[in-house]
Symmetry: D3
Subunit: 283 residues, 6 copies
């Protein structure tokens, strides 16, 4: 009789044979407003069974790939740095095994752990950042390790010109000014996406997708819903072009499933994740 | 003192004088993922009182028509075939009385009951099928009578070329191939709608509307929300052309009202139903 | 140690120094269908802390303005006229102090109280009315003071040609006919907005924004969600032109926050309110 | 084909043949804190179908009685006195037809309408009042017609010594003093119930049951949950003795079903209503 | 790196080494009123992580036992007999391997599948049945395989005197009469429990626990909440005596977790399951 | 015109004149299972307006006391020690001003901040600890500053014999052994309460009330509901004896209001807080 193994839809390859490794970081310890992103990964696994493995958009099927879902990290609430170190270590192990990581958050700060590891392997990587918020504060109530500061911390590791932001529609005046000076900032929507992908060429790229880039109409289940975002189809259209670049890792963060009891937010997150995984097929 | 009669908005004609008969099939016994479509008809009756009988879109009023809401069938959970037979019998009675049926689901399988009866009366009818899902599996976990198979069962009754699918964005690779071979499949949205209506000319047409053809932004209250659907206005625009064809019956299925506590899904379903009824005025 | 003062985001000027005074009218005593608009103002204050004071749309910041939130009126449920009088008195006090009022509802009837006061000061003011519903009934179950009659009551004060309606998509045949005769009625959406603003020139204008003008996809948290409305971005685009006219007061009504547990409706209402306030900067 | 008649469980006698007439007063227009009691009657009808007509407690069955549910009154929100008059008129009609009324609220103020009529027929009736709250304010924010004042208004009609209160655990110091002077006040629980019934002998008695007399553990679905109430079994035990007195009418009020999404509150209200009806069998 | 194995708390023994095997039957296909028991097993696994493995009541720890959770059966909705057969087969396999089954429902009908297998091994077993409902209908809307008939079906296999019912407080007059004739019926509560256990001596006993035996105050998350039930402590006290008998299998059914968003129902179900498992230690 | 000051019911004394100072610590940063206690203080302020200031239990009124609610601390999520320091500092200020603190949590760890300050002033104080959980782990996933360790940390400051635990029903075997050795542990309920109060005599006592000591039937709105707790009336009865001891401070923690949408949990927490405050009157 089998053990009760739970994975994200179709991600049931054995670890040794997998090209891509999916894992969850159920952490929202610095969320200042409304917590709940910690429930994102398990909700996505549970609800992904309502979805097909086949995509009629790109005409590929998850069953034709080798992806292993290794489950969630156990992260200590109350010690942010310890949590980030565990995420970094897991990401580094995946790279060391010659595989690519796909991280399910959790709040956006988890990206910092993954990128610390990715930058060890690909010191010149670029970052595609989709988000409603700039996330460029220097500190939040005195704390430098906060979801509100994560892109600032990452910029400290990469320097200017390596981060491409899309969909941003909330931040302080100072954050917008900082983004204009140090990043490629695309306000409000995804215009400039195709050009950016072309610019990136064959450089290694890490995608960090804060799901609140979507309008709350399409994804109300997130901690800080920000009206005026992109539609699901606009995001999907952008995702469907990712096969043109060299994606060496990614994360999907800030699904807070309990705020959308309809399950539609989780379903949308699952579908976007499926499409991202399918775009990683050939790389 | 009056009895406490509950009807869908404005559908209070006496049965004998009615041209159109509305009834509910509160059945979701084969729903594999998330049940609740059984609550659709009663929710629609309750919430329709927040809506006007007049449509500013087509400038008609439900009070100018003769529609009788006869309430819900009492269907046995656990015996799918018995439930379908009861739906078939009720539909046949309505046709025998020279009236047209409008069926409120329930899960999509209820359509099979209604179409068995409709095909007795109109052996050459065509079917307009709006849905997010192909519903073309041959069986689901061994069961041929499943919501996931309903269009396949119907195709077995009609044969090729009689079913026109719109909005489909989820299914297996095999289902999409099957649809391409045997149906007129319009992927993702409603493009081709006007041409299809023209093609149908004055042939008898049955409309089966799975409400999940709508994007979950507009109708989160359904069992299997599938992102990337059509907007409410796109659907409404399509509906407003139905007076051009000869609609001999229809169903509106898969509202699962409890998944949308805001009531907006039920309100949208009521409004679409009102507009469909108003399009049936002249026919 | 400070007192626990709660204000809408950034509206913490002292009353004496304020140019704009924001207050709440938590009244929904005539709501016939689904109550809850009474909880709108407190929800907006609580949730506005998830939002920035800076707008990247108009590049202004609430902290650069002088706005005082004086909290909510205490209104007697069960006595509609008494409630309206208290709203009228508060509005009159604000005008008497040389300030402009911004009223958070509550149901739409609260607008009548504010406009009675505004018309004392600006007898020739015009009214921009955004709404899903005509609100032009002469009475509702015999009651003339009802949310369903509020624009009719206001029209009795202003006469023809002073009210400009946008987004209207629900009403009786008679109400639409009345609107066509006595108002500038823009059905379904915001087309004609720019022309209307130009027409208004420098006349004093009062804006009454029933949030259900938004499609329920963007704002499900309202008492009577009416599908087929405008998108958040369409509304925001219209709002961003308000600096072109002379806005002497406004209200934002019919947020019923409990119907949207995701908080997205309240967040959208807060963002629209922020943008309206920022448009009032220069006037 | 039948019309879609909805009744409370088993209350489907024809009006002419009925001994007891049940009707709903879906009014909560003076509710100052959290509205929703207006949804009580329809929720009870819908949910009563999950319950049996037979009671193993008293070994009687609703099908052995003749009860007619005539549905809900249509009451104007915003005009309290008009609503009360309609309730009074309906109650008077029932008495005039030689039947006994059972009123489903709605907020507690609806009792005033029913009692005005009952006191016309039975000028010497006594009142059993179960409640968490004294409801003895002279006015509430200046309004004498408020749920918070309903027993005070009734006392003005009956005078001292005719009202027996049980379960009361909330009120002002003044209200408790008033109750001690003018009523038979039983604080906190139902002690003294049996003695009171004995005292009442064969005098006509009206029962007004505010469901918040139950502890919120047993009935969280009410507008003002007040901890420290009686258990369901304690209330049921009291109800099961009602056959000993001459019950000439009753109401069950303040179920606000939406605050308890489990449905357990509505189910408890239905069960209590069934047991009260069964106690009225022989009278 | 490990696979993502999910088990009920502490039930992580390897199948081969286990004494007790826990499995889920997520089936609610005959539920006539409110579905959702299908979500019981997965909710219990997810939420059991908020609970300790140690019980201060019996001073035992799950980690000192060898229990294997093999996950959920995949059951076809729409084919009741097929679902029962799969449950029967799984139960039989467990007995064949010399282990004892613990089944998590699912609706109560799943018990029939398990008992068919148990009766093969222990033809003389007795049944402890805790429930709010008699479940003794001969058929339900014509269907013999229904949750409302499950004890009747089981009685057909065991004959008179082998079934001991506790807590029963809902049913038809006929069902209560049937129970009085053919079973040991303990109405309303658990009185007679200790005597019954003594009577059972060392005969093999199967326990079927419908969680709605609990009062809805303690477990609102069930399909048909029935007021007037036993308290959690009363049930726990009864459970803590089970070590005195020879328990050869059991089930815990009718948790419908979504109806209790607080999670308290699921937590109570987990705790009761933990205590039952701990009582099975020595047997 | 007044500022919009929000306080817990009746706690509107000026700081300088207050004897008791109430403040909130909206922190749940170490909550490992289900967050949300951060919303406790604001929910209690909002909902306390549904409650009277007068208590019929002790016949006192909050308006006869001088209590100042100074609102919530702004605490940095992600830095536990910083949050504790801010709580400690606020508590110390209150003591320095000759007043007594009442702290509304937040998670239970906030108690550590308050007690560090209280022990500076009253080095010999004793602690009354009501809780479902031992909270005596030495660390949780390596972290010593966790809600699961708070009483262990406090014991390190007080040593043996100063902590009196009541209602405890969950913990590891080791935690129970630790409690038996170092504390006065009262398992499961409040037996021994009166004797303990007598023992305490006139020693300074700090009360820490984890609301999950209540059975989830009475307070489902908490992060880790643990069945088998005490009833509201049992807790209230215990509280009503507190005037017999010298209470120098207290906290009420672990209300997570969003898990109980009925509001009954928040209402119960408010009522308990009112009664505790009233017991502090004479001290």
């Amino acid at each position: 009789m089998n053990r009760n193994v739970q994975t994200f839809l179709g991600c049931d390859a054995q670890y040794g044979r997998a090209d891509i490794v999916l894992f969850g970081a159920p952490f929202d310890g610095t969320t200042s407003f409304r917590p709940g992103a910690r429930f994102g990964p398990s909700a996505m696994r549970n609800e992904s069974f309502g979805m097909e493995t086949y995509s009629p958009y790109c005409e590929r099927d998850l069953t034709e790939m080798r992806i292993c879902d290794v489950g969630d990290l156990e992260l200590p609430f109350g010690n942010t740095e310890a949590a980030l170190s565990l995420i970094q270590r897991r990401t580094a192990e995946i790279y060391a095994a010659g595989k690519r990581p796909v991280l399910l958050g959790g709040e956006h700060l988890v990206t910092l752990g993954a990128l610390r590891a990715a930058l060890q392997v690909y010191p010149d990587l670029c970052i595609l950042h989709l988000d409603a918020h700039t996330d460029l504060r220097d500190d939040y109530l005195g704390e430098p390790l906060s979801h509100a500061c994560v892109l600032r911390r990452i910029w400290e590791l990469t320097g200017d010109g390596r981060i491409f932001q899309f969909g941003i529609r909330s931040g302080t005046r100072e954050e917008f000014a900082f983004a204009d000076s140090h990043m490629a900032l695309h306000r409000f929507d995804l215009s400039g996406w195709a050009e950016t992908l072309q610019t990136l060429g064959d450089r290694p790229v890490y995608l960090t997708l804060d799901l609140d880039v979507l309008d709350p109409a399409f994804l109300p289940g997130t901690g800080t819903p920000e009206a005026g975002g992109v539609s699901f189809m606009a995001l999907l259209t952008a995702i469907l072009q990712l096969h043109k670049i060299r994606l060496i890792g990614c994360d999907i963060v800030e699904l807070a499933p309990h705020y959308d009891v309809s399950g539609a937010s989780t379903a949308a997150a699952c579908k976007i994740t499926r499409e991202i995984l399918l775009q990683m097929k050939g790389a």
